[in-house]
């Protein structure tokens, strides 16, 4: 089994349909199977239970679709990028769509360390009129602090949601559905989730569709490269 790494590929992919209900662990297993089907010369971790080396940029919450998830994978033998990309596209199940494959230096920083923010589009269905939704969002943005807590598995963690919001914009209305754009911190320094914004804004929800548009590198979400 190959354990040495000679090439690192960065894949950008979309998560749609049934796959949007997958957990982070499900997506990890799905990629392992996809790459085995594609017969890529993967590099494996060492140890009793070797796994292909894969690193995801940021966990996608269950129930979200995405147009810009990223994963790095390491190969034990060099392979032309085009060929690798085609093999992956061929083996992608419906709902996991390979969008881009690029090579990155083996020594490049980890994806998780790179990502600082994520852009979301939210379609919120609520009986509230557009003005009320807009006002609730503006009120939220006007706060200096938004103290909240998250239930973790065994404890509660207090946090301030406000600094995690980098941008919040009401876009449009269609019937009782309101489209909202959000730019939220995402990464090792903390992540905000769109449903937390909706909750903190006190909006009643009948339905919600959340899509992650892309993951952004660089300070305060300014996209670099």
């Amino acid at each position: 089994m190959r354990t040495a790494t000679v090439q690192r590929l960065r894949v950008t992919f979309a998560v749609e349909g049934a796959w949007s209900y997958a957990s982070v662990l499900d997506l990890g297993r799905a990629w392992e199977r996809l790459l085995r089907r594609a017969r890529l010369p993967l590099a494996y971790s060492q140890g009793y239970n070797p796994h292909p080396r894969l690193q995801f940029a940021a966990a996608l919450p269950v129930g979200y679709t995405s147009l810009g998830e990223m994963v790095d994978l390491w190969l034990g033998e060099r392979m032309p990028i085009q060929e690798a990309a085609e093999a992956m596209v061929r083996q992608s199940p419906p709902g996991l769509r390979v969008l881009q494959v690029e090579e990155v230096p083996l020594a490049a920083p980890a994806l998780q360390a790179l990502i600082r923010a994520a852009a979301y589009r939210v379609w919120l269905t609520t009986p509230l009129p557009p003005e009320a939704v807009r006002a609730a969002l503006e009120h939220l943005l006007a706060q200096e602090h938004i103290p909240r807590h998250r239930r973790k598995k065994d404890h509660q963690a207090d946090y301030d949601l406000r600094p995690l919001i980098l941008g919040l914009e009401y876009c449009s209305t269609s019937g009782t559905t309101h489209e909202i754009a959000m730019l939220l911190r995402c990464g090792q320094a903390g992540s905000g989730r769109p449903e937390e914004i909706i909750e903190a804004a006190g909006l009643a929800v009948e339905d919600r569709i959340i899509q992650r548009l892309r993951l952004l590198a660089g300070a305060d979400g300014e996209e670099k490269g």
Partner: protein, 624 residues
């Protein structure tokens, strides 16, 4: 009208593990309903992650969907959060592939693998908006059928299910769908009386199909069963199970689930049936005769399934993996082909000998979970009673070989509540575990870990123990306590199921048609997911039994005489009751019956399926 993805999303963002309810997996088959004649919903009355691990359903899904005129879709029991969401939204239970309401299918086929799923069968019918009682459903509603190992005693569900498919479903299910297609055509053309009963009468002609409404059950004054008689001409007095003379094609493009399932791996069935004749084992009787898949086929299927799925683990399944005549060759070749890609092979159900340790050593797959074997009983006397055919020397040699090969953990399966068992017999389990602990320490040079799972025997229909009573609660619990006290040792982990689950499983697996009303009452009172401790409410079942005036002890505590008509008497598994009775008497006398590859015990299976046997090239099934 199928549910839309958007309608579904409104529910799914509010429930746990929504991937259970969306389908859309790789290799799931979505057909256009307008192009097929008959639609079948394969239903499993437990969670997705349990049902998706069932190989039988994967085989049937593959076979039915290969036929252009039929389609098969899947449905599983929704967890209570999803059930509440469906009911609140006024939406019916739907199929995963095309999200059609369950009630829109022509046939709903339940896989019955566990008695504690019965309340879920009723709940799923109700969630489909269908009457749970078979006699209340009209010809416009789906035909509700059931198969699987629990169908070998169909009576407790006889009032809810229109018909039972007995035995292996590969051929008979397709015959049934053909007949339903013909019936639908005739209905459309308006030729002849095409009501539900006409269809059922016709289906009762297909070998392997038991239609309970065409039989009359006669009880004696004391509530004892007198007879189960055909109520009409042309209805067979006994229904023989179906078998396939050769193992059919392995599903090599199985559905690859999005979420993790219980057995999330590639599966190749390498053998069906078992020759060992353990007297407690229902599978050992109902899956007779033995049929092996040749090594070359196993290897080719394995390659295809791995290429199609991308799994890194393959399970070579059978009732006794080390008994396949080419098992070593299969493993050696598989390992040679996959040296570089980290494939792991698992072999469930290894027998107790050093050959099995060698196999386990080759595949290395149980290093982490521990080397597993099943002595079943602690004392030699009891192992002889159950015909386990293993001596203490075998056990010690096997454990020794496992420790010498580097295992630090051993997992053992035992039972209590076996016929003739005494406290001393049960304590022998503790002695054996202690012995293995010290053997392990000696060989490994450090403390080893042993986990012992101690189940309680439920004497199952169609086994030599079918006449035996369920052990008494006080005896079982006392023996469990004795074991606990005798095994307060570091490194020893003991576990057993709670008594109430065993009790209910015994009643439902050994019960008669009158239990239908009990199941109905318990379900109405809220029973569901009885196999899950967080939902199991045994008091609902006790109350339901009392309200129906049935004494649970009637089903559990009596040793049934040979003359008594058993509720499953009309089911012919190809093994004769006389053989089972002989084995029961030999059990009580502590006499062993050797592996039937050494000597034929005339169980009846060869004569029952002489015709099928002749169609095999070598004319043999591993029986001498």
């Amino acid at each position: 009208m199928p549910l839309s993805a958007a309608q579904l999303h409104r529910l799914l963002w509010q429930v746990q593990k929504p991937a259970r309810y969306v389908g859309g997996e790789l290799h799931s088959v979505t057909k256009d309903w307008a192009t097929v004649e008959v639609t079948l919903a394969l239903a499993y009355p437990d969670l997705y992650e349990i049902g998706m691990s069932n190989l039988g359903l994967a085989i049937l899904y593959d076979l039915v969907n290969r036929r252009p005129a039929f389609l098969a879709e899947r449905v599983y029991a929704p967890w209570p959060d999803m059930e509440a969401a469906l009911r609140a939204a006024g939406l019916p239970l739907y199929s995963l592939e095309t999200r059609h309401a369950l009630a829109e299918f022509d046939v709903i086929g339940f896989s019955l693998q566990h008695e504690l799923n019965y309340s879920n069968v009723l709940n799923m019918l109700d969630l489909a908006g269908l009457p749970v009682w078979a006699h209340e459903r009209t010809a416009e509603m789906p035909l509700v059928i059931a198969g699987g190992s629990c169908a070998y005693n169909p009576e407790p569900l006889a009032e809810f299910v229109d018909l039972f498919v007995l035995g292996e479903g590969e051929e008979v299910l397709l015959e049934l769908l053909e007949a339903v297609a013909a019936w639908k055509r005739a209905r459309r053309q308006g030729t002849g009386p095409e009501d539900r009963r006409t269809l059922l009468r016709r289906l009762a002609q297909i070998p392997g199909i038991y239609v309970p409404s065409l039989y009359q059950v006669v009880y004696g004054p004391g509530g004892e069963l007198r007879a189960i008689n055909p109520a009409e001409e042309d209805v067979p007095a006994r229904v023989r199970k179906r078998i396939v003379p050769r193992l059919g094609p392995t599903p090599t493009r199985p559905i690859v689930p999005i979420m993790e399932t219980v057995h999330d791996r590639a599966t190749v069935e390498i053998q069906r049936g078992c020759s060992r004749g353990c007297r407690f084992c229902q599978a050992g009787i109902i899956y007779r005769p033995i049929r092996e898949r040749p090594a070359v086929e196993v290897l080719a299927d394995m390659e295809a399934i791995l290429a199609n799925t991308g799994y890194a683990e393959v399970a070579l399944v059978s009732l006794s993996s080390s008994d396949h005549s080419q098992i070593e060759e299969i493993i050696a070749q598989a390992l040679a082909r996959h040296r570089d890609d980290g494939l792991s092979i698992s072999l469930p159900s290894l027998r107790i000998d050093s050959f099995s340790v060698r196999l386990a050593e080759m595949i290395q797959s149980t290093r982490k979970t521990g080397f597993t074997f099943a002595p079943e009983a602690g004392s030699q006397r009891l192992r002889d009673v159950i015909n386990k055919g293993v001596t203490e020397a075998d056990l010690l040699r096997t454990a020794e070989a496992a420790f010498q090969s580097g295992w630090n953990r051993i997992k053992l399966y035992f039972m209590v509540g076996l016929p003739t068992e005494t406290d001393e017999d049960a304590l022998e389990i503790a002695r054996l575990v202690r012995e293995l602990m010290s053997l392990g320490r000696q060989i490994r040079g450090r403390a080893v870990e042993i986990s012992a799972s101690v189940a309680t025997l439920v004497p199952k229909p169609h086994t030599p123990f079918q006449w035996a009573p369920l052990a008494r609660r006080e005896d079982v619990e006392r023996r469990q306590r004795l074991l606990q006290d005798a095994l307060r040792l570091r490194g020893v982990h003991l576990s057993w199921p709670d008594w109430e689950s065993t009790w209910l499983e015994a009643i439902l697996s050994r019960g008669d048609r009158r239990l239908g009303r009990v199941i109905h009452r318990a379900w109405r009172a809220g029973a569901k997911f009885d196999a899950w401790s967080e939902h199991f409410r045994p008091e609902l079942w006790r109350e339901a039994l009392a309200q129906e005036g049935l004494d649970p002890a009637w089903y559990t505590d009596r040793e049934r005489p040979y003359e008594e008509v058993l509720p499953w008497a009309m089911v012919d598994v190809g093994v004769s009751p006389a053989f089972l009775w002989r084995e029961y008497r030999r059990a009580l006398a502590g006499e062993l019956s050797p592996d039937c590859r050494e000597i034929c015990h005339h169980c009846g299976i060869l004569t029952a399926f002489a015709q099928e046997r002749r169609t095999l090239a070598q004319g043999r099934w591993g029986c001498p």
